[in-house]
């Protein structure tokens, strides 16, 4: 019973992050992938110069935006991927390993995002 208590507290917490990440991924990610993943590399649009891109990213608000853009969708991935393995492929005997891999990955990714975004010269 006692061992269940932290689990019951964590589940809604991770679900909230999953949900917030789902909103961020739905609203913002399509336009980002379209521009940076397709339109610029394929030459449909004039690519941003290094100076211009750096000027955009130097603004603190843009960095906060990018931090949210990276961190929340990572938790969205963690939650969904965990349950895809659980329900979809019925990998239930590795439940603990998968949980640690997914949420741990999201936490490490968030820390990396913070480091990368705050270490811009």
């Amino acid at each position: 019973m006692a061992a269940d208590a932290p689990k019951k507290l964590l589940e809604p917490f991770f679900w909230t992050l999953f949900s917030a990440g789902g909103v961020v991924a739905a609203l913002l990610m399509p336009v980002h992938i379209f521009l940076f993943g397709l339109a610029f590399p394929l030459g449909w649009l004039q690519d941003l110069s290094h100076g211009r891109a750096l000027a955009i990213i130097e603004h603190p608000l843009v960095r906060i935006y990018l931090f949210v853009f990276c961190a929340l969708p990572l938790f969205h991935w963690a939650h969904r991927f965990r349950y895809t393995l659980y329900d979809g492929l019925q990998i239930k005997h590795l439940n603990e390993v998968i949980t640690v891999f997914c949420y741990g990955g999201a936490i490490i990714g968030t820390a990396l995002a913070g480091y990368v975004l705050w270490s811009i010269p």
Binding site: V31, P41, T84
Partner: protein, 142 residues
């Protein structure tokens, strides 16, 4: 002894007959469009995570200087990367559409004692999506 008992999947329950559970195939979701759609929607999360990684690589190479950034851009022009990005784009679109269509189930809004119709809630999500996408594109391209 049945295979179920060997695995310990079923345990003795007092005053109750032993539970009967049929084994579900690992590929249960393949045979019905509705289930396949569910699994594809869940798999979209992999592409969401992929693009987070790309974004972080881009920011990292940007801060390392113009030469590193040029190398990043070169790698983004690789046909394999473009193919992966195109697939990711469709999966993320699929995520967005299914997410907005589910919003009326999650948000039960009432206005003047009446429930706001589903189409209005989903519709406002789509309008916000268009407005936000246009703002982001304007900010980057201006």
């Amino acid at each position: 002894m049945t295979p179920h008992e060997k695995k310990g999947a079923t345990q003795y329950t007092p005053y109750h007959p032993r539970w009967y559970r049929t084994r579900v195939s690992t590929y249960w979701w393949l045979w019905k469009w509705y289930y396949l759609k569910f699994v594809l929607r869940e798999l979209s999360s992999i592409f969401v995570a992929y693009f987070v990684v790309i974004t972080l690589l881009q920011v990292h190479s940007l801060s390392r200087g113009s030469e590193t950034y040029a190398r990043f851009e070169e790698r983004m022009r690789n046909p394999l990367t473009i193919a992966l990005n195109a697939i990711s784009f469709f999966f993320v679109l699929f995520h967005a559409i299914t997410w907005f269509n589910l919003a009326p189930r999650a948000i039960v809004a009432r206005l003047g004692g009446k429930r706001v119709p589903d189409i209005l809630i989903a519709g406002s999500n789509y309008v916000a999506w268009l407005a936000i996408s246009a703002t982001v594109a304007w900010f980057i391209l201006r």
